[in-house]
Symmetry: C2
Subunit: 147 residues, 2 copies
């Protein structure tokens, strides 16, 4: 029964891989100029291992994420393009048939709809960029991360 409910909300992207729906907002998008400091942007704790801050523009969203060692992001995909920049620590990705460890000073570009999972090998600071902005992150409907 539980599986049936989940299947209504998500499409499968392959064995064990979830293609997330509702990741693009249809509501009016910000067109204001904003000057912000990460120090004053709300920090959201999705789990004890996953903390996140968001800066949302019109077509660009920045997510500053702090992952504790051992944090697992399960298999998923989304229509939003993603570019992950690592500033500290190490984040291991399973993507496109490969295992890739992304470290400080490195960048991973993830095309739309490409399934991926990740694990923090160390405490990790990253900035993930999405286009368009991730509606599920803005609306806090990203239950796959809140376990």
């Amino acid at each position: 029964m539980k599986k049936k409910v989940i299947s209504k909300k998500r499409r499968k992207a392959g064995p064990g891989k979830v293609a997330l729906k509702s990741t693009v907002t249809r509501s009016p998008k910000s067109t204001e100029m904003k000057h912000l400091s990460w120090d004053t942007v709300e920090v959201e704790a999705l789990s004890p291992l996953f903390h996140r801050q968001l800066i949302v523009g019109k077509e660009i969203m920045l997510a500053r994420i702090l992952l504790k060692k051992g944090c697992l992001v399960p298999w998923h995909s989304h229509v939003n393009e993603q570019v992950s920049s690592i500033f500290g620590g190490a984040l291991k990705f399973w993507i496109d048939g490969k295992e890739i460890v992304v470290g400080p000073g490195q960048v991973l570009t993830i095309p739309p709809n490409m399934p991926h999972k990740a694990e923090a090998l160390e405490d990790t600071l990253a900035i993930d960029i999405f286009s368009p902005p991730r509606a599920d992150w803005i609306n806090k409907t990203d239950s796959y991360l809140r376990k």
Copy 2:
């Protein structure tokens, strides 16, 4: 005569402000996953004061820029949304009727078509994000920066 040639290539965004044309590519866009290190991305010297590296995705472009103190970016605008993150130094913007100094740990979001100019108050390291990617930066037709 020179002015006439320039006026064919650019539209004015207001007194002394240039609305850049040809900043969006019509060519096929990258949909590959890429794992890159800034250490190995080509560094382009636009002037003695302005060095730049590019990582280009489908709808997201990252430009890592190193501006020497005193570097001036003249008034311009573009249809591409811009988000500037500062990692070292200080970059002063004239934008939306305001003068704003953006420092380390700070972010400025610039909506599409909003005229702005900038000056590096110190040697500055920034990552500018554009969506869609800046065709004039990719094609090196950004003559307004090469003075």
